[in-house]
Each structure stands twice: as C-alpha cells, then as structure tokens.
C-alpha cells in the first residue's frame, strides 16, 4: 500500500545524500579571469586618442622598370625536321562509290619530307593474352567439319578411316605374331565452320570475374536426376505378333505365300536390327556424306533406295532416287549424287551388319537431310 511512499522516501534520501557528498555545497570560489594591466601617462593616452594625420601625398610613382619586349615573339626552338600531322589511320580512303562524294578534284599535292616521322606502328593484337571467357569451345582450324570433333592426328600417323596402333616387328619373337602396320588416325575435324569474322581468338569476350563462393551445397536432386532424365536403355522389344485376328490372318497369309512361292531365302527368322546396329550403319554412311553447305543441293532432302547383298555390299545398279524435297531438278540430282557417293564410298568390303538378319536390311531406304548442316 505504501509502495509509493517508500519509493518517494528512498529517492529523497538519495537526493539528500548526493547534495551533501556530491559537492553541491562546495565552498571553492570559481576561478577569476586575470588580465594584464599596464599604467600609462596622460600624455601617452592623449597621443593615443589623437586622430591620425594622413601622410603628405606623394607624387605619382614612376612606372616600374619593365623588361623590354621585342616586337617579335620568341619562336620556340625549331626542330630540324618539322613533324607532319600524323595521318589518321582510322579514316580509310573511300575507294568505292561513297555516299557523300566530295566535290574535290584538284587534290593538293601533299609535301612529303624524306625524314617525316613515321606514325607509330599499330600495336599488334595480342593473341590470347587476356583471359577469355568463351561461351562455346573454340573449334580447331581443321579443314574438315564433321558431327564429332577429332583432334589433330599424331604427326606420324596416316589419316585413315579406321584407327589402328603401330605394330613393329620386335627383336624377340612374340607369342602372338602380328603383321607390321602403320599407325593411323582419323582426319582432324571440327564441328562447325568458323568464319574470319567469328574467329574467337582475337580478343576476350568478357572480363574475368571473381569466382563466387559456394554458399550452399548442391541440391541432392542432381543425384537422382540422371536416373530420371535418362531411362535405362531398353532393348527394343521383338515384334510380338499382335493378338488381333487380322494381324494373325495377314501373317499367316504372308507365310503361306512365301512358303508356297518356294523362294529359298535360307535365313532363319530373326529379330529386327537393334538400335546399335542401325546406328552403326548410319554413322558409317554419314562419315562419307560430303555436304557442300553453300550449294543449292544443301537445300534438298533426298531419299535413296538400294539393295544389298549378304556381304553387306551395295548392289550398285539398284541405287535410285526415290524422292526429293526442297530444290530444283539439278540440285536434287546433285544431292542424289552426293548421297550415292557416300553410300558407295564407305561400304569398303561391306557394311558391318548381322548376316542372320539379312532380311531386315537387304532393302534399304536412306533419307539424307542436310537441314542441320546448313545452319553451321
């Protein structure tokens, strides 16, 4: 109930104590300001208070002696050879019809001194001194443009379609007797055409930036991503006969027809070509398909049909153009010739196809579509 009184009493007590011992009632006098005083006489005071009398005017002062100035300004020291204005290298002489033709014909003959100072030579462009942040890998200057980049071959290696190691006859007879052969490697190739204007090795495209400190661990989702992104490759399921009545009937009819026709193909029934086998065939041909990217034929998609024998070789006479799209007759014919050369040139001793599936590849329809090549 008397909390307020206690607080008030305590506070007043503290105030009294502070007043008594805190120095409030100290008797020390404050420090006085001290000024120096000097005693002067009355005459001196009168002299001080007398108004100042201006000094008698003086005659106009004479002009200060100025240094003599010659009429002709001193010329800066003349160099022995007058430097000529430096020709502007950035303004090329317009040789072509210029938008603004200058109506000048009597071009003044410029004086040319034998000892005219030469303009400083342009600084050579540094090759790749500065750090270069390229958004894409710099393609090698290989003459061949192929789907996959191939590095420069070893100097001793011969360029050949198939890569092989060097085999030399050794002094000590070996158990496995291999024939001597020279090392070969595929021809160097880049993946795209790089024009002079696109040459990326001229100057840095961006300055180097400090690396960002990794602040967070990589999300765990990346571990699971590949699994989700790339499903396990599955073997294409063998073509199971459709359980419909029509399919069965047509299959039986076909089998009967073939059986009754008596054509002894001599092969066993086999599954269709696997994806790997088809890819191997396609890659073998595309390595020989030379596309002239600047030609009209590069606009033509052509489909070529041909037959093959059991050794994997093309029956030359069976090569024919089945269809073409995107160009005139001449361009289509050129596209067909390029496709035909590709098929014939890369067959070697025969394409590597499984003989037991001959029925699957004895007739081929190959479409050559250069659309993705044109963009390069």
């Amino acid at each position: 109930m008397h909390t307020g009184h206690y607080i008030s009493g305590g506070a007043h007590g503290l105030l009294i104590v502070w007043a008594l011992f805190g120095g409030m009632f100290r008797s020390d006098p404050p420090q006085l300001e001290i000024a120096d005083v000097s005693v002067i006489s009355e005459a001196e005071f009168a002299a001080m208070m007398r108004p100042q009398v201006a000094p008698p005017p003086v005659e106009e002062p004479e002009a200060l002696p100025q240094p003599e100035i010659e009429d002709a300004a001193p010329e800066p020291p003349v160099p022995e050879t007058q430097p000529e204005p430096r020709p502007e290298p950035a303004e090329p002489e317009a040789a072509a019809p210029d938008p603004v033709p200058d109506p000048v014909l009597p071009t003044p003959e410029p004086e040319i001194s034998d000892v005219a100072p030469q303009p400083p030579a342009p600084e050579p462009v540094p090759d790749v001194e500065a750090p270069d942040i390229a958004l894409r890998p710099i393609p090698r200057p290989a003459p061949r443009v192929a789907p996959e980049a191939v590095p420069e071959p070893e100097p001793d290696a011969e360029v050949a379609p198939e890569v092989q190691e060097t085999v030399e006859r050794s002094e000590t007879p070996d158990v496995t007797d291999a024939e001597e052969q020279q090392a070969t490697s595929p021809e160097a190739a880049t993946t795209e055409i790089v024009t002079e204007a696109e040459d990326p090795a001229r100057a840095p495209t961006a300055s180097m930036r400090p690396q960002v400190r990794p602040n967070r661990p990589a999300p765990e989702a990346t571990a699971a991503a590949p699994e989700a992104a790339t499903p396990a490759p599955e073997e294409p399921a063998p073509q199971a006969p459709a359980p419909t009545e029509d399919a069965t009937a047509s299959a039986i009819a076909g089998a009967l027809e073939e059986a009754l026709s008596g054509s002894p193909s001599g092969t066993v029934d086999g599954p269709p070509l696997t994806e790997a086998e088809t890819d191997g065939f396609r890659i073998a041909v595309q390595d020989c398909w030379v596309v002239d990217v600047g030609s009209q034929a590069a606009n033509v998609t052509v489909t070529v049909g041909f037959d093959m024998d059991r050794s994997g070789q093309v029956v030359g006479a069976s090569l024919r153009m089945l269809s073409s799209e995107g160009g005139t007759g001449s361009a289509a014919e050129t596209a067909f010739q390029a496709a035909r050369r590709a098929i014939l040139r890369c067959q070697g001793d025969g394409y590597n196809l499984p003989p037991e599936k001959f029925d699957q590849w004895k007739r081929v329809e190959m479409t050559f579509n250069p659309e993705s090549m044109r963009i390069r």
Binding site: L105, P106, Q118, I193, E196, P264, T278, F281, D292
Partner: protein
Amino acid sequence: MKQFLASFLAVMVLALSAPMTALAQSGPLRIEITEGVVEPLPYAVPNFVAESAGAQELAQQIARVVAEDLTGTGLFREVPREAHISQITSFGSPVQFADWKAINAQALITGAVSQEGGRVVVKFRVWDVFAGTELGQGMQFAGTPEGWRRMAHKVADQVYSRITGESGYFDSRVVFVSESGPKDQRSKRLAVMDYDGANLQYLTGGNALVLAPRFSDDGQRVLYTSYETGLPRVHVLEVGTVQSRILQGQDGVMSFAPRFAPNGQTVVYSLTQGSNTDIWAMDIAGGGTRQLTSAPSIETAPSYSPDGSQIVFESDRSGTQQLYVMSANGGEARRISFGQGRYSTPVWSPRGDMIAFTKQNAGRFHIGVMRTDGSEERLLTASFLDEGPTWAPNGRVIMFARETQGAQGSSSLYTVDISGRNLKRVRTPEGASDPSWGPLQ
C-alpha cells in the same frame, strides 16, 4: 476354333515345304541421315595426254590450270600425282577404277591435247570413280595456242558443273581499279584480268582518278566513275575497243555509283544535287532519266535483283547507313538491315537468294551476306578495311578489296566462299580495289 485350325494348317504347310523360310518382312530398312561432313572432295587429274608431238608442255599446263581452278574453290582436293597408281596413256583406253578407288579419288579427269599449226584441241572426260561411270559425256574445245588458259578454264568449269550441279566461274574476268604508289599519292587505273589474276590488261591511263567499275551482264561494257572532267561523272567503256564516253553530263551535278540493269539497257546511279543524293535510272540508248528516290537523305549504291524487278541500295534516312529494297520503278522502300553498325555497298547475288554487303561495326569492317529479306545475316570476314563485295557469276564466291593499315597500307583483292571458308588472296601485280566480277564467257 477357326483361328486354331488356320494356324495349324499354316504350320503344317511350312513344315512340309520350307522349314527355314523367314516370316514376311515388314519393308525396307529406313534410315535418316542428318549429319554429314564438310570437306573437299578428292579428285585426280593426271597429266593430259599429248596427242601430237609439240603438245606435251601445253598438255601439262592445261592439266595444271584445271587442277588449280578446282582446288582453288576449296570444294575439291587434288590427290597428289605421286600417289597415282595407274597412268593414263591413252585418252580412249578404259579406266582402271580400282586403282583410283584405292587412293580414294572420287572423281577422275582425263584429257588429251593436240596441236596442229595454230590450232589447239583439248578434250576431256570426267569419271565417277566409286560408281565406275562417266559423269556426262566427253567434250572438246578448240582454240589458239594463246588461248590455252581459257580452254583450261572451260574444262574446269565443265568438271565443276558436272560434280556440283552448278555452273562454274573459272572462265570469267574481273574489272577492277589497279593502284600504284603510296596511299596519299596513289595512281589509279582501270584494269581487267582473268578471275585468277592472269592476263592483266589496263583500260585507262593513270592521269584521272577512276572509281567503281561495273561490268555489264554480257561483259562487253564497263561503267565507271571518273574525275576526268573535274567532277565525278559516270563513263561507259566498250571493253572490245577500249573506247569510253561520258554517259550523261550536266554542269554542277555529280553522278556516281553506276550499275547496269540485267537487261543492259538501263543504268541506275546516284546523283547529287545540292546536298541531296538520290538514285536515278537512265535509258542508255535514249538518254531519258527518271528519279527513283526522293528522300532528303543520301541514297546510293543501287544494285538490281537478277530479274530486274527490285533494287537494293543504302540510305541513311534512319540516321545511320542501312540497306533498303524497293521496286525497280522506285516507290516505297523497305528496310532489310537491322543489325548493329553501318551497312553499305549491297550487291544482289546472281542466284537471287542473297545480298552481299559491307558492314562497319566496332571499328572493324566485314563482308557479309544475308537473305533478301534481311534474315540469316552472316559475316564472312573481318579486318581493318574490307569493302566492295562482288559476286562470282554462279553466286557462290565473293570477291572484295582488303586494305591494310598505315601510310604504307595497300589494297588487294580477296575471295571467300559464301560459307565463310576458303578466304584467299587474288594475285595482282599491284594494289587492287573495287572489283567487279564479269559473267561466265
């Protein structure tokens, strides 16, 4: 039940007649190929057979020029002669394709040369080695011994055409400005040469400044701008007689940047009156003129489309130099260039599908190509100064002038494939600029 019976019957028939027969095949194997390679096609040119006593040297020279022409395109690669397995000793003898296949020559060119008196006959054949067939039919050209280079170029044109399906450009000439002396005291003369720099001839003296020569489509006349009278004036020169005359004259008026229409009867050019430059067209025979543009800006460098229906030109009406296309009769123009930098000297391709131009951007000059609607712009070169593109007659190669930096810098001619590959210099005895590629002869 019915199905079971049918199946049973089928099995019985198969078992009895052909136990190992395959089931019916669904159809041919279908494969799509979307990736190829870009590389020169290997070919072989053995020395042509000399069918007369004195033709040995000529036969070798002609075969060499044919090889230089083909290899110079960048589309072909000659298999060195040291690699040849079999030799061609007779023009009519059968070709051993296996020998040429073994050295990976895809095409083979055989030929023969005979010389009797002042007449030289060159005949040739082109073979598809891997197909084992002849490409086209044998052909022969006859001419004088002095014209052997032209005959060699004609052979190369035929080979090029048979393999690529497009016409060649080897038997063609280029008119250009030949330059001598330092940059600030340069003498300029009109000159004409073969596309490869051979057979150079001068068409004018060095007393007057000449600029921008342009071949007519038939290659018989050359338009150019000369300062002979004091002001720039368009002249026309007959190549055969080397006689020139002022195409049109009007006091106080400058005319420049002329170019023939495809029909050869009309000339389109720029005319400056006061501070305004517009494009005009003139009928050569009648002399009648008509104004095609009337903007207050500078319009110049007109070039016709191959069908003569449109004109591409440069204009600064938007503030910077850009390319525009309008009807050949004038009227409203549409802008086709929208990239950074300044575009100038547009030239329509002989194929009609592209426009070559000079581009200045970020302190460098480029030669580039774009579609006629301005899409698919592609820069082919980059240097201190590249300018003045001109198309080969087949629309496949671009020639232009490149000038080097500095007071001692000189100008020379270069060619580049429209894919941006195969950039190379044209041999000229002196400096050269302002090329104009003539038609196939």
